[in-house]
Symmetry: C2
Subunit: 741 residues, 2 copies
């Protein structure tokens, strides 16, 4: 590693001549283009006008640089945050418009920061493993530096040289040192926190042409993290096992899989992506020889596509792991990212339609390029396709599978744990009908930045509920979470992709989980089937388990909406008690239960003008439990969402269900269309360690059959099960067919 470092240092060292500013995110030539394009790319003009309005309001209300005091959501926190956002925008406006009021605003604010900086000790709040200066954690200080370095670059040549010297020496260099060498437990990790730290230090290094800072940023610090730092506040390890490198390039190496998937999931990928891309943009401008955007087969551009592909039709990210629902392609990070992917990734016209929906562009070369593309009518609809995104730096540590068919989106997760922000949700899934959640992932128990809710940070119910297995649509064994709820154990292995396939009418995702429980092998297979007789695709869910007799299974389904009817006799309770004491059960009320009768359980619910039905094969002693989230919730932190738990005590077994999306109803015309299930019968024909075979019959009489090989994924293998008239044969992993009447 050390030899490589020396070579790279040579590659990236600054030339003898200082380059002209701006040259970080903006360039002199780029600014010229922007100025000359004003008035000809309406989308860009509109963004300039919007940003000018925001910044003018801030300039008018005056500069405030308060002594740091509050946590997130509190005044001093939000003020310093607003300050760096505004400075960054003001810098761009100064370049585009030439109006000096914007430059003065930045200068005067920076001088106030420079006055205050030497007077500050660590932030008074002691919650963080890496306390900051302006903020309670170094992470936010790094945010400040990422944004502020851009503003500084924009006024660098305009500033009096003495002021530059003062700011460089009294504010920026010491501040960069603070979040790097003074806090290696923050800076030298493989983690999104460190990515921000690396980017902030690197970007200010580029602006000041401070070689040392840039080296730290790119390659990490050549120092050990003191041994007393073991975990961060989220329970994530400070040093990964066997970690051999640090710094920005190491982040790219480790954070993403070759497909651009980020192990913490899309919510944090969105957050982490901004420093990756904005620093990469600075490096592209100032150190083009690094070819940072081509690094690891164009990985950073791939990461943008990976994010885009982890959304519902409203552009909202799948809320897996710690994630606040509703975060979407509309976020400021993605406004930057998608335009960058357009500009540097080959001018993909499909990205322009996403940018149109974002409604704004970044004020830089990428944004101008996108705005011109839109003006020229190049925009095309983005085609969301089914795909599997591998996890792990080498792409061999699990994956997520995304199946799409018309408006249906199904995602199954069999990736790595996702470090401190991971949930115990192996083989869990979520299902969307367009933008609407049909089967939800709870997301995190957190109201990000909303001070009412414990300062806007993670709530204790995030650990006691949201991370637990019972909070997810996957199998719970013996009322205990996967890996006994232990992050360290979960981190040691990943889910195991078995089969992923999409054809014209059949999409299949199949994966195993062998480590979550001792002596239990779980293998879930989900299929999205386009059936001629049905108005929407049908989802098939086959959850096969190999386990000792007497194992108790709970398979939850967090359906969204109002229960319409079930075919079972449900007894509701007149006294609600929590369903357990731990592993998340303590947060569930048991509203009612049914002892399964007959061969099928069927339940229809209604949400947002559509009907949905689950039909499950049941065994004689199965129970259906109707739950409601919200027990042991002293601060009303949890949503009162409904759930259904399919409970079974058995040895090796197969859970088989069909999910239908059907019909519609509008409150203005009150005419229900197709409000009932179209499934007449479902039958498990075969279930063994090696095979599963299912038949189902529509109410219109058609019969379909799905067979699957659980132990042999070769496409050429011949399979046969049953005998005589019941003998079924096929080639390859699966077969799906309509049976002759």
């Amino acid at each position: 590693m050390r030899v490589l470092k020396v070579i790279l240092i040579l590659l990236v060292s600054f030339g003898l001549q200082a380059q002209e500013h701006p040259n970080l995110v903006l360039t002199v030539e780029g600014v010229e283009s922007m100025r000359s394009s004003l008035g000809s790319a309406p989308f860009f003009d509109q963004t300039v006008a919007d940003v000018r309005q925001q910044v003018d309001a801030e300039v008018k209300s005056g500069i405030d640089v308060p002594i740091p005091k509050d946590l997130a959501g509190g005044y001093t926190h939000e003020r310093h945050k607003a300050n760096f956002f505004t400075m960054q925008k003001a810098g761009v406006l100064f370049q585009i418009t030439g109006e000096e009021k914007y430059a003065r605003y930045i200068r005067d604010m920076l001088l106030q920061y420079a006055e205050m900086y030497p007077t500050l000790d660590k932030h008074p709040a002691t919650r963080s493993y890496a306390r900051g200066k302006f903020f309670w954690q170094c992470l936010n200080d790094a945010n400040w530096l990422v944004y502020t370095s851009q503003a500084y670059d924009c006024i660098y040549d305009w500033l009096d040289k003495k002021i530059v010297k003062k700011l460089n020496e009294e504010l920026f260099r010491p501040y960069a040192e603070y979040i790097s060498i003074e806090n290696p437990q923050f800076f030298n990790r493989i983690h999104n926190h460190s990515t921000w730290g690396n980017a902030g230090v690197g970007m200010i290094g580029l602006v000041m042409e401070d070689e040392e800072l840039l080296q730290w940023a790119l390659y990490g610090l050549d120092m050990q993290v003191p041994g007393d730092y073991v975990k961060d506040n989220d329970g994530g390890a400070i040093q990964l096992e066997g970690q051999k490198e640090a710094g920005f390039l190491a982040q790219i190496n480790h954070a993403f899989s070759p497909d651009g998937y980020y192990t913490e999931g899309p919510y944090y990928q969105r957050y982490a992506l901004y420093p990756f891309l904005i620093f990469a943009q600075g490096l592209t401008n100032k150190k083009p020889e690094l070819r940072i955007l081509n690094y690891r087969n164009d990985l950073l551009i791939k990461a943008v596509y990976a994010l885009i592909n982890q959304t519902n039709t409203a552009g909202e990210f799948f809320p897996i792991n710690d994630a606040q629902k509703g975060m979407s392609l509309a976020s400021r990070e993605l406004v930057n990212a998608v335009s960058m992917a357009y500009h540097y990734g080959g001018n993909d016209p499909q990205l322009l339609s996403l940018i149109e929906k974002q409604g704004r562009v970044p004020l830089n070369d990428s944004g101008l390029s996108a705005a011109i593309g839109i003006t020229e009518g190049k925009s095309q609809p983005y085609e969301f396709n089914s795909l599997e995104l591998t996890d792990g730096a080498n792409g061999d540590e699990g994956a997520i599978g995304v199946l799409r068919s018309n408006d249906l989106t199904l995602m199954m997760k069999y990736a790595k744990h996702g470090m401190g922000h991971g949930h115990f949700d192996r083989l869990g899934f979520l299902l969307y009908d367009g933008a609407e959640e049909v089967i939800q992932d709870y997301g995190s128990a957190r109201w990000v930045n909303i001070e009412h809710k414990d300062g806007g940070g993670y709530l204790k119910e995030n650990t006691s509920w949201a991370k637990q297995t019972i909070a997810h649509n996957t199998l719970v064994v013996d009322k205990d979470s996967h890996f006994d709820g232990k992050v360290d154990d979960a981190e040691k292995s990943s889910g195991d992709p078995y089969f992923f396939s999409t054809s014209d009418k059949v999409g299949i995702v199949s994966a195993r989980e062998l480590n979550a429980y001792k002596n239990v092998e779980m293998h879930r297979t989900m299929a999205v089937l386009e059936i001629d007789e049905l108005e929407k695709p049908l989802v098939l869910d086959l959850f096969s388990v190999q386990a000792p007799p007497g194992t108790r299974y709970d398979l939850p389904l967090y359906y969204m909406g109002e229960l319409m009817s079930t075919n079972q006799k449900v007894k509701t309770n007149s006294d609600l008690l929590p369903m357990g004491r731990e592993s998340g059960y303590q947060h569930l009320w048991l509203e009612g239960q049914a002892d399964a009768a007959g061969d099928l359980f069927r339940m229809t619910w209604f949400d947002n003008m559509n009907f949905y039905t689950v039909t499950s094969v049941v065994s004689p002693d199965d129970k259906l439990l109707f739950t409601r989230i919200g027990a042991n919730d002293p601060s009303f932190n949890l949503r009162r969402d409904p759930g259904l738990i399919h409970r079974r005590t058995s040895g090796s077994t197969l859970f088989a269900s069909l999910y239908e999306m059907h019909g519609r109803y509008s409150y203005a015309d009150e005419i229900p269309i197709n409000s009932f299930s179209s499934i007449n019968n479902v039958e498990v024909v075969d279930a063994s360690e090696k095979y599963m075979a299912l038949q189902f019959e529509l109410k219109s009489g058609e019969q379909y059959q799905f067979v699957f090989s659980l132990k042999d994924d070769r496409s050429s293998s011949q399979h046969a099960i049953g005998s005589g008239d019941a003998r079924l044969t096929w080639t390859g992993v699966y077969d799906f067919r309509k049976l002759d009447k």
Copy 2:
């Protein structure tokens, strides 16, 4: 009455010469205009295209006239319903396009009905007080006749005369007799059911030029309703006390107040309005001398405006009384009504903007007129204003008050009970922030037409929960509903309007309820105040009660959204029990409670990107109860919505609260703005039988004072309360002012 009847009979009797068809809703001249306008009014063309698509699909799938069997939601019910809608549209298409396939479709279907009709006994379902033929209740049969008579009119001249004779004699006349003279308990009421009956019989009478049917329709039957019919299925009385008239004109006399308010509320007004207007349109065309649209000072047009004014900014009706939420100006009834109001009510350009939102027009003179108005660019935004709508045929039986300010809409109800569909909700209110419910009315416990839910009819929880007082935002005394939950008692009196006033910055609605509880006088005053220092209007709620000592009060608040924080120490329960056995309490879980400490209770909640705060003055022994709907709900019929109950045991007292709408938060930027209350303090300065005085202080330091006279509503009266420095004097019912610092 009898003399008047003879005169009117003379007025409306048919001339000797048969008029040319169509002449009911369409006219020969109108059809000419429509044909010649095709291609020049895009809005009309679009509707024609949409309707043609719908009808062509039905024509293609073939005619089905099944033997009646099912309740609402079931196949035969929905099929016959689809048939009449399609026939009506096909008739219009035949006239506009001249394509005979549409005429043949109607003819062939009518002949099948004519074949089936003589074979039918009453509908096999026995639930209704007035069982129909094609449907389980005469009401739906009347619907059929209202729509089908329009279709019949469109092909009347095209049909073979022998077929006309057959249809008239074997289908329409007997069917009209069935829902009139054979079911006087249905036809001769003052009720929306009868309005449909009157319209159906009258319209087919107009088409067939059957004088007798028209007389029955306009003036009712000269017969007694058999004494064994007392109540309908909703508990409404078949004959009103002292009822002296029946028929269509009597419906207009009784159903609406002079302001056009309909005592059952907007949900049923919408439903009832269609037969009122469509029959009126037929009468206007065929019996212009009746001047039906000018009857009672243009009452039917006023009724359309009254409906429009009972909506939130999304055009959804206030869900008071039995009402399914979401019913709106987009309904087919309102598509007809708003265009009619435009065409016959003076071409009000503000109505055109509502029609544009509806996205379609009725295919008749009114629709064409509106489409041309839109094409000519005449559309103007509809201005929603504060207003009071009186209830009662003479406008002296209570009212509802609507206060609007910017996006805020507040409605308080102090009207009549609303007959069988009324709720026990005197002095209740609801509050909207734009289209969003801030404080909700539960609406009805019903999924209209959705067969899963008890055939789509009213659920038993509608009576046990939705109608009860505790389900509304108004005062419950001693855990019993108003009027002890008895409709007959509630019908005997109405709420008592005290004061309604709107000025530039202050809107006030104030009303009394003296009969709901024995020995309890309730007087609620709500004000919407525009305060310079606040971003949105502030709502003041002063609920004054005069009652004996030891009275137990529960004042519920059904806030929508997620609880963010309260200033009180709330103890949540680990075992949930229903809060009572009756009067709706049996459906509430008690999630938590707080013993009021200090002088104020404050709670902030979040919904749909906005924050809301209630601040209430509390007394030492007050309790705050945190409730959740859903107990004793064996079929999961109730929504799990939260509630807050302010409980107090006392004699005469005043409940004083402020409601703030404030701030915003988006999931894509995660920056909360103004998420905390701006109210620093609230104090009741005076509360007596005669006066109320309240002061409140903003966090920014400003103090405001509101004083109100409860017993003297003259604008000239001088009032004084307190003494010395605390002396307050003012003129008129109220005074609101900012205090000098």
